[in-house]
């Protein structure tokens, strides 16, 4: 039904090779022939079938971004960075979401096995070290914003230990001594690392760690609310709370406001990621900003280098974060 390159060749009175040449301008073609081909293309409404091309060239120029969830906007900036780097190199980014489900993640990864895409970037993953290393051997993959202990795979992220340290240190520097943390139950290393950063500050500042000052839920914002209820039920509630994600920070802030606590005065809250909502919320949420766009650019640039060179660099790249100070944290020093 659809016109093929043969139809174009016939209509233009040239061979398919010539049509292919003008399509990819891969070799010089006389202006006469070029014109004939182009008008045949227009006349027939021809559009090359990439299934043929891809099969022949053994590449699709598509990179798949595997996203755990579209429930929040954190990945938006990363995707933009990925797109920019990809487009500059003739690649496109397609996304799919796994809802943090291992089976779904595997289903998506099939697309790299079966060559539907040239590579995949995992923005978070449920896979274990062995599986990742196996995949990395045979295919082109990268991990973004997460790390897997011992997995020697191209990784681009911020230093979560350091990021959490900076956030919690900020709370301490503002004069807070009773600092709690809301984390997740998951085993994702980004969570573990952020807890480590929290602990490190306590140690460095000579603050004794209290077990009841740590609450674990999931990334869902309702856990922020639950955590706030819990902390306020303590006989000696914290004055500041470091949240593993802005989403949770917002949940905590919401509950605090419902409890008629003045966020940024009666209770201080600090998040992580600098989601758009943190700027929108009232009061604005103090947080750690990740260089999303840059993370996206970098991971694609490195990945393309791997693809083109045919060998794996497996770099572990850490980019710089920054503290964004808003109204949700009280500074006792002024």
């Amino acid at each position: 039904m659809n016109a093929t390159i043969k139809d174009v060749a016939k209509a233009a009175g040239v061979s398919v090779a010539t049509v292919s040449r003008v399509l990819n301008n891969s070799a010089t073609v006389s202006t006469a022939a070029t014109e004939q081909v182009n008008s045949a293309i227009k006349e027939l409404g021809y559009s090359p079938n990439f299934l043929g091309r891809n099969l022949r060239k053994c590449e699709t120029n598509i990179i798949l971004a595997v996203i755990p969830s579209t429930e929040h906007t954190f990945y938006s900036g990363i995707i933009k960075g990925m797109q920019a780097a990809a487009n500059e190199n003739g690649y496109d980014i397609l996304m799919s979401t796994t809802n943090s489900n291992l089976a779904a993640e595997m289903r998506m990864l099939k697309m790299v096995f079966n060559r539907t895409v040239d590579a995949a970037v995992l923005l978070g993953t449920q896979l274990d070290k062995e599986t990742l290393m196996d995949l990395n051997d045979k295919y082109n993959i990268a991990i973004c914003c997460e790390r897997v202990e011992g997995a020697d795979v191209l990784t681009v992220k911020v230093d979560d230990v350091d990021g959490a340290y900076t956030a919690v240190k900020h709370l301490a520097d503002c004069g807070h001594k009773k600092i709690a943390m809301i984390s997740t139950q998951g085993t994702a290393l980004s969570s573990v690392d952020r807890e480590k950063g929290y602990m490190n500050v306590l140690k460095d500042m000579g603050i004794k760690f209290k077990d009841e000052y740590i609450y674990r839920g999931s990334y869902d914002y309702t856990y922020g609310s639950l955590a706030m209820d819990y902390f306020m039920s303590l006989s000696d509630p914290p004055t500041a709370i470091f949240c593993i994600s802005d989403m949770i920070a917002v949940g905590a802030a919401k509950r605090a406001l419902e409890l008629e606590l003045n966020v940024g005065e009666d209770i201080s809250i600090c998040g992580f990621d600098n989601l758009p909502i943190s700027a929108m919320y009232t009061p604005g949420i103090t947080t750690i900003e990740q260089p999303c766009y840059e993370i996206g650019r970098t991971v694609i640039e490195e990945l393309l280098q791997n693809i083109q060179s045919g060998e794996k660099s497996n770099k572990q790249i850490m980019l710089n974060f920054s503290l964004v100070s808003r109204k949700s944290v009280k500074n006792f020093n002024k």
Copy 2:
């Protein structure tokens, strides 16, 4: 480098046809042969190359969701609905984002021209009627959550006129007479329709339309803030504001709070879409909920029907919305 079906055939001591048969279990194969093939597959770590398969079958079983922006979470539920319906039918959903840019939208649509995907669902579009009709002639496309006047293309959405009417009527029923609206400058019909719904309520309730009660910006939440500043500068400010999107409603609420207005008391705000943030915000934002999951399911089911039947139904399907009442609107009647 990678094993092909030929390698498997050789290793299993059968023909490629037989391997293909066990791969797709498209015909009965003796258990002996099946076992040989399966062990050869495992041994070689074989994974079928879909470029070959897709070329041969002239289908990819992939549907592309073209998303204007990942800045907000509105599309999340729709995508989930799309995935559910697609997976049930052996299809996968891949996404790409256009950042509301016509060139980017065209770039993504190329994937349906060149057969990289079987169909595309446009969640909003910059294209005009003619282009859409042309595309719809040759390819399988659908529009979601938006409509284009006169474009006879499969469309699934809510009735925006009716939705806005319900929202504004609710404000009026709560005793508000001075009702303003924050809309967009764009020509998207969803905006135009929602303005129409607003006007209809005024007419039905015998409220005189005031030009200064309408403010136009874009979907960015900062315009909500700007609008709030503007309305409060009027000599006779509104008591209620209907916002074309929750994002804008949040921006407006944020600014109101900064101006020390008690949202839900001094000023009432109503949004549209029921984004997660509307529940998270303090106070919760009253809004119109779209049946996102259902919209997603429906558009894929209809699209697959078009694909499989080979003919276009071009239905215009309207699904039911609902009013979600929260604290951001004051009810004068109680």
